[in-house]
């Protein structure tokens, strides 16, 4: 049965204080937390910190493909990577605070929800 046994993989930070972790494939995944945002391209064996000053405290992420992913910040920012997490573009910073969920069905069409009125 899949998931019956689990291996522990050390992260570069202790405590990591992670808020969310998602994988698009068995190899590409992202985790976000209050201390750092990390991505892996090898199934979690190694993690790369891509946190910048403006990307601190992201609260939501969505992985669209093997290379494209989106992050939302607590202060209403939205970030996108097109290269698997190596570099990130700040799409805008005037969204409602506390984005609760985000998803894209392709690189053009996406949705966000917020507990605050949009």
């Amino acid at each position: 049965m899949e998931g019956e046994t689990w291996d522990s993989i050390p992260l570069p930070y202790k405590p990591a204080d992670l808020r969310s972790i998602k994988f698009y494939s068995p190899t590409f995944g992202i985790t976000i937390g209050t201390i750092a945002n990390l991505f892996t391209r090898d199934g979690g064996q190694t993690w790369t910190d891509f946190t910048s000053e403006e990307m601190k405290i992201c609260n939501n992420l969505f992985l669209l493909s093997e290379n494209v992913a989106y992050l939302s910040g607590l202060k209403g920012q939205l970030f996108k990577t097109g290269n698997g997490g190596s570099t990130w573009q700040n799409l805008s910073d005037h969204y409602p605070n506390n984005i609760q969920s985000l998803m894209f069905i392709n690189e053009q069409v996406g949705f966000i929800s917020s507990i605050m009125p949009c």
């Binding site: 989106y70 939205l78 996108k80 799409l91 805008s92 969204y95 409602p96 609760q100 969920s101 985000l102 998803m103 894209f104 069905i105 690189e107 053009q108 069409v109 996406g110 949705f111 966000i112 929800s113 917020s114 507990i115 009125p117 949009c118």
Partner: protein, 146 residues
Amino acid sequence: MTTTDGGFTWNKLDYAPVSARAICFSSETNGIVFGSRTYASNKWDVWDSYFNVMINGKWYGDSRVTSHIEPFCLNAKTYFTITRDNKIRLSTDKLIPADLIFGLVLIYLRSGCSSSCLTGKTAILSCPEAFTDWIQENNCLLNKEW
């Protein structure tokens, strides 16, 4: 809110449910939104999840899920949740025509299922355990041809 230019500009989704906590769309005009709010009861208020579905651009549903957490959208077809009684999470990829959704909801609820979650193409159930057998024996609504 929705974008059609990759995230640079956003527009409000008219009539979208408030306090949405999980969203899952399969196209620009079809998707499901899960939220949570307080429901009044005769003893104490209950914090519960609900869902609304958008079918061809119109919102339907506002149906209670009987779950204290918002469902997790694995993809546009598959959702998971844990019901208040810690019962099953049942999902299917069976395609169901959108115009049968409300019939499905009614049948599910009349069958005693504690909750149901439906999109324009997919149904999931969250039922008491006893109904799992009933569903399997009768193929319930999951495997019928429509």
